[in-house]
């Protein structure tokens, strides 16, 4: 699976970091850092789905693999 971040919509709540700390973190300035490139690592798919689900402003989206 792929996860797309809509940077314009991300307001930095950090719920994704709580759900999937291996995939998303907020840096010291509070900016979202995506810690993977390409498809979500297979052992992190569950966490990725949770991160998408809890984003309060709809900034994360599960997308079909390219």
């Amino acid at each position: 699976m792929d996860v797309t971040v809509d940077r314009k919509r991300c307001e930095g709540y950090g719920f994704c970091e709580e759900a999937a700390p291996e995939l998303f973190t907020l840096d010291d300035a509070g900016e979202l850092v995506v810690r993977f490139t390409g498809p979500v690592p297979p052992d992190q798919e569950r966490e990725a789905v949770d991160a998408v689900r809890v984003c309060p402003v709809g900034a994360l989206r599960e997308t079909l693999p390219r």
Binding site: K8, R9, E11, G12, Y13, G14, F15, E18, A29, G30, E31, R53, V54, P56, V57, G58
Partner: protein, 393 residues
């Protein structure tokens, strides 16, 4: 309407339902994923999964045709972030959100904590207090107008304006009609305050006026956008803060746990907002036929998103009528809405709530609460009065 659509004559705005809504919500959830309310010419969506799905399908469940149950307010709010759709929505939301992101709000964290600590010190000296006036209203009123850059005049009207703004989001019933003159006063004041030079330079309000000068947002919309900062920042937060004091007072074991471990505070605030959702519902309008769990909602129909019911849905939550700050997945509630229209001020609300709960946890051993008196309001779960005595740690 086809004969497969479930209809109900339940009146969600009847006084007894407003004052004690949760049993009625359960009945509606059991009737089906979307129930047609003939009296209000709208569907009501009450189950968690369906509300969540609808909020995240903002193309089918659009906001641009209004989120109120009456045309008068829908017309008035058109073009605000709340009553608009992408791509325009994303632009105006982006402008409004700038000072409200958790990142931007960090600058105020220490100030808020100091103000919260001072407030609790004062309340501890007082003996019996009214939670609503002395705590839940006082704190937002002591931070929001200054952040907005508001002059001293007009502040005495803020609570009445905020309450009127949310009453008018319901159906155009007696309650909404009674508040229309109050709103007219507010709109007149907003138009005046939107003139350059009225709001404190560098404030959120003045930045918005500046954005209008530069053409980033419409000058015509400016009064509505300033109102969008003010109105939703009061009644909602007042509701949540009042409920927090009530619920933590009624659950001394959970209050002890919070005092022993302050890292539970964010979950405690989320559980308060799940359990007593400050905004009971807002509406959407279908842009196309859209199915929710097997029921088709036709294009053009209006659908109420019942946040306060979704947050009590037994299909999603375990023991939803229990208040439990250790509940797993508590931040999945839809008390701030969810998706692209999710509450833009939730970072501010959380910052206020966290500062106050931290101050209470540091200083207050027991919260002794009396019986709350609820206010009959079209949109807000509103406690009118709540006596309490705080006992120092």
């Amino acid at each position: 309407m086809t004969d497969t659509v479930t209809t109900s004559d339940i009146d969600l705005w009847a006084e007894d339902v407003v004052l004690a809504p949760y049993e009625t919500y359960r009945k509606l959830r059991d009737l089906g994923p979307a129930v047609w309310l003939e009296q209000y010419q709208a569907f009501v969506v009450t189950r968690y999964r369906d509300v969540y799905d609808a909020l995240h399908d903002h193309d089918a469940f659009a906001s641009g045709a209004g989120v109120a149950l009456n045309e008068q307010l829908n017309q008035k709010m058109k073009g605000s972030a709340v009553v608009s759709d992408p791509p325009y929505h994303d632009h105006v939301r982006g402008v409004m959100a700038q000072p409200l992101t958790p990142r931007a709000l960090r600058a105020h964290k220490e100030d808020f904590q100091r103000l919260a600590d001072d407030l609790i010190d004062r309340l501890l000296e007082r003996g019996t207090i009214d939670v609503v006036v002395d705590f839940a209203q006082l704190f937002p009123l002591s931070v929001v107008p200054d952040l907005l850059g508001w002059p001293t005049d007009g502040r005495e009207n803020f609570l009445a304006w905020a309450s009127a703004g949310f009453n008018a989001l319901g159906p155009m019933n007696e309650r909404a009609r009674a508040d229309i003159p109050v709103l007219a006063d507010m709109w007149a004041f907003m138009a005046e305050i939107a003139q350059p030079g009225r709001l404190r330079p560098g404030s959120w309000g003045a930045d918005l006026v500046e954005a209008a000068q530069q053409g980033t947002v419409s000058k015509q919309l400016l009064p509505a956008l300033i109102g969008d900062y003010l109105v939703p920042s009061l009644d909602t937060t007042v509701s949540a803060l009042s409920s927090a004091m009530l619920l933590l007072g009624r659950h001394p074991d959970q209050w002890r746990a919070v005092r022993a471990d302050h890292s539970l505070i964010p979950a405690a605030l989320n559980e308060v907002i799940r359990y007593e959702s400050p905004i009971r519902s807002l509406a959407r309008v279908l842009t196309r036929d859209r199915e929710l769990s097997g029921t088709v909602l036709p294009a053009g129909s209006r659908a109420l998103m019942m946040y306060a019911s979704a947050n009590r849905d037994e299909r999603y939550w375990t023991d939803p009528d229990d208040f439990d700050i250790t509940r797993p997945d508590v931040n999945a509630h839809v008390g701030f809405g969810h998706g692209i229209h999710g509450c833009v001020g939730q970072g501010l609300a959380r910052l206020e709530g966290h500062a106050l709960l931290t101050a209470l946890a540091k200083k207050v051993r027991t919260i002794e609460v009396g019986e709350p008196e609820y206010r009959v309001h079209n949109t807000i779960r509103a406690i009118a009065a709540l006596p309490a005595t705080l006992h120092a740690a």
